[in-house]
């Protein structure tokens, strides 16, 4: 497994995609590969893109890749779509919008299913970013599922978060109030050809006028032209990329990059502890049948969850 990590460091595409696959499948020992590459992480600029399904995130990502490639920088993309809660299967349709980059060796695109994770991402995203980072990608774009307002996990992983709004979705501005406001580093008003784009721009602008920006960064609002007008679309996405770079420069200049990195590191420690401590204990309980016994006891009200948890802790955790 460490071998896979070594190969990923050299940019070996098959090793990279297999490593991401193993992270997703939670193949035992995959952590060995991550241990190997971890010291080399932290180079790439990670850009998150979130917003309602159908808002145009994948279409934008496709064009953004062009803007980034025009500056000779390489790009890694992780695009997340939902798994069916009923069958566990998933229809991953983001890549269809990015087909034109399939033959560009400077671009690596990976589709991921949520596999039950809440928060709009896949559990594999955190380590997946590390893999794309050490394979040498300069910019990493993470496209979230985009279902709801709770979907703010992206803030733990991205340096720059883009929130895509489209006209005609009614409660968009409500959603901003409800929390996306804190997440967004840049707002995008997309589908400018749709009625209400200017109105949405103005509404978002007046929302911003009421906001407070302790870091000193007031999220700009970028109008992106319709993708049906390729020339103006490309031009407005170039401008968007300039704003993205401005934000990254801002974070660097003010030493705020560290703050973002801290969010990711905290999430990582949480996840790693969970998989090192909680999961093995849970697995043991399930294998030994104790878990089922506990369920039955609780159903019969013979005990309570906290007493059970104390017992498990006393048995498995060495103080």
């Amino acid at each position: 497994m460490e071998e896979l990590g070594k190969r990923a460091l050299t940019g070996d595409i098959r090793a990279v995609s297999r490593l991401i696959r193993n992270i997703e499948d939670q193949v035992p020992n995959t952590h060995e590969a991550i241990k190997h590459i971890f010291p080399f992480t932290g180079r790439a600029h990670v850009v998150g893109i979130t917003g309602a399904p159908g808002a145009g995130k994948s279409t934008l990502t496709d064009q953004l890749i062009c803007s980034i490639r025009a500056q000779n920088k390489t790009v890694g993309v992780m695009a997340v779509d939902p798994s069916s809660p009923f069958t566990g299967g998933a229809l991953l349709g983001d890549r269809i919008r990015m087909l034109r980059h399939a033959d560009d060796p400077g671009v690596f695109v990976r589709s991921l299913a949520t596999r039950g994770a809440m928060g709009g991402l896949s559990k594999a995203v955190g380590d997946g970013i590390h893999v794309l980072d050490v394979m040498g990608k300069d910019v990493i774009i993470v496209e979230t599922v985009g279902v709801g307002q709770q979907e703010v996990d992206i803030i733990n992983h991205a340096h720059t978060v883009l929130v895509v709004l489209v006209p005609g979705m009614g409660d968009e501005v409500q959603a901003i109030k409800a929390g996306l406001m804190e997440v967004a580093d840049i707002f995008i008003i997309n589908k400018a050809d749709r009625e209400g784009a200017r109105k949405l721009y103005k509404e978002t602008l007046s929302m911003m006028d009421m906001g407070k920006f302790p870091s000193g960064w007031r999220p700009p609002i970028v109008m992106v032209e319709s993708n049906m007008e390729p020339h103006t679309f490309a031009k407005s996405v170039d401008e968007l990329y300039e704003k993205i770079q401005e934000h990254y420069a801002f974070l660097k200049d003010r030493n705020l990059l560290q703050e973002r990195a801290q969010l990711k590191v905290q999430t990582e420690i949480n996840d790693a502890l969970r998989s090192a401590i909680l999961e093995p204990v849970l697995n043991k309980l399930i294998e030994s049948g104790e878990f089922d016994e506990m369920v039955q006891k609780l159903l019969k009200k013979e005990t309570d969850p906290y007493t059970l948890a104390d017992e498990v802790a006393a048995k498995y955790l060495v103080k």
Partner: protein, 133 residues
Amino acid sequence: MAKKIRILLAKPGLDGHDRGAKVLARCFRDAGFEVIYTGCHNTPEQIVNAAIQEDVDMVGLSCLSGAHTYLYPEVVKQLRDRGVTDIPVVGGGIIPDRDMQPLYDAGLKALFTPGATLDSIVDWINTNIAAKE
């Protein structure tokens, strides 16, 4: 561990008959597979690059226009040229009987024509394709 079968479903060439492919994409999702659908007008190069980047367990090709005789073997060949021998290629669509054997000879693992039930396709995948280590 939580292994899932991942499938790339693509339409190579200029054929625009995408109804079958879309039906299959949904059917695969409902069967519990993760399916990456890349739509129409894919070149063999794009399909091969996608298969590698997505690390799929199977490539499914759909073509109803008659171009399968060239496009299907070309995908298999380009995968091999890139050193990929562990991703089976499966095809479907309007494939006359006389084309079957040459396609199998070229390395196609299975072929399905109109009338093949979705159940039979899913069964074939569950029997012959395993999520990889």
